[in-house]
Amino acid sequence: MFYKLNNKAIKNSLSEQVQEISAQNVFDCYQCGNCSSGCPVVDYMDISPNQVMRLAQFGAIQEILDSETIWICSTCLQCSSRCPKGIDVSKVMEAFRAINLRKRFSKVEPNKTQIQNIKETPPILLVSAMRKMTG
């Protein structure tokens, strides 16, 4: 992807918010790509996990907030368990979701899901999706 570097934008209030919510230092990342190579759903993402980390280092937070990636991530923790720098990448992803959700944004509407048969749908599916994707 194309992103124009801007010196002034690197430290901004949104990037500080990400670090505060996730309690992770995104500047620890040295772009080895282990997170993206282990991610089971990376082929559905518009920005790969290591690109998310790089953009976060550049302060390009809005680009990540608007991406599909943060909603495709299902918090399986493969990235976090394999990061050689010990960054909990899934926490960083959660921070981006949280910033959106705290503005009352919802990724899923309860009446617009892909469920065909509600009787055979387990509560664990409905509750977990609503917890992760509704604000």
Binding site: E20, I21, S22, A23, P40, V41, Y44, W71, I72, S74, T75, C76, L77, Q78, S80, S81, D88, S90, K91, E94, A95, A98, K107, V108, T113, Q114, I115, E120, T121, P122, P123, I124, L125, L126, V127, S128, A129, R131, K132, M133
Partner: protein
């Protein structure tokens, strides 16, 4: 011996055969799963945000409720409950500030949250307390010639601090299947995500994930998959209808809860109500292997 037990939402609904088979199998092993009273949802997915304690309150309240009833441990069957209860507990316990805020918030409770409660998965109990060797002696109906693929998914092994076994190369389920007399097959996708709650919004993601997992197991010649997570079980079992449409030539494969196989191996009869809750009927396989 009585074991305080936390069921969680799905074991009271779509996975009631998971609970039923666990209770019956544990009875044969001489242990009663005693359901705690007044439990609420564990919160399902653990909140990874560092600054919002509200999202951990449901878990902590369950622990408090159990303590109030005189329990100092809780056993879960569902992988997600195990993961969420344990991680929320660790998150709150590890930080004195968090602990104080949560305790202050719950000031109207009858007792104070004192952290002195342990959460175990049933696999911990079977392996460490009852011991696999003891179970092996009680197996009356060995699952001979059944080739089973253990599916751990995410929640039993990640994060590694809460893994029930080695987080990259676990064998706790394989060892369990072997003592039941079955052949435990290793296959590459046993720790991969099934797509989880994406089934609600991006079903194609879960369908592809489940196809890859099931196909990987089938390539290794598994007759069936064994799991302990109701969300994985739902995705792997019920999405096979979609997988059949998407991937030509895909042949169904049954998905079991580990407790169903435990009960069966211990000599409990297979119950028709268990079959009804499966999407892919496991009966033809069990009949073929002369297990029922």
């Amino acid at each position: 011996m009585n074991l305080p037990y936390y069921p969680g939402c799905t074991l009271k609904a779509n996975a009631s055969h998971f609970e039923d088979s666990a209770i019956k199998a544990m009875e044969i092993l001489g242990h009663q799963l005693v359901e705690m009273k007044d439990w609420v949802c564990c919160g399902t997915v653990f909140s990874q945000t560092d600054d919002d304690l509200m999202l951990h309150l449901a878990s902590i309240r369950n622990l408090l409720r159990a303590k109030e009833q005189g329990f100092d441990e809780l056993v879960t069957l569902c992988s997600m409950c195990y993961n969420t209860l344990n991680r929320s507990k660790a998150f709150i316990d590890s930080d004195p500030d968090n602990l104080k805020k949560v305790t202050d918030f719950m000031y109207r409770e009858n007792i104070e949250y004192d952290q002195d409660i342990q959460v175990y998965h049933l696999f911990n109990i079977l392996k460490d307390r009852i011991k696999y060797e003891t179970i092996e002696k009680l197996v009356h109906n060995p699952l001979k010639s059944l080739r089973l693929g253990a599916y751990y998914g995410c929640l039993l092994v990640r994060p590694k601090e809460f893994a029930i076994d080695d987080f990259e190369e676990p064998t706790i389920i394989e060892d369990f299947l072997r003592i039941l007399g079955a052949e435990a097959i290793d296959y590459p996708y046993k720790l991969e995500c099934c797509g989880a709650y994406q089934t609600l919004t991006q079903k194609d993601v879960s369908v592809k994930r489940c196809y890859e997992i099931l196909n990987s197991a089938k390539k290794a010649n598994c007759d069936a998959i064994v799991t302990s997570c109701p969300l994985c079980a739902y995705n792997l079992d019920f999405l096979q209808k979609e997988i059949e449409k998407e991937y030509v030539g895909f042949v169904n494969i049954p998905v079991f809860y580990f407790t169903e196989l435990l009960a069966l191996a211990l000599g409990h009869t297979w119950e028709a109500s268990w079959s009804e809750l499966h999407a892919v009927d496991p009966l033809p396989l069990l009949k073929d292997k002369q297990l029922i």
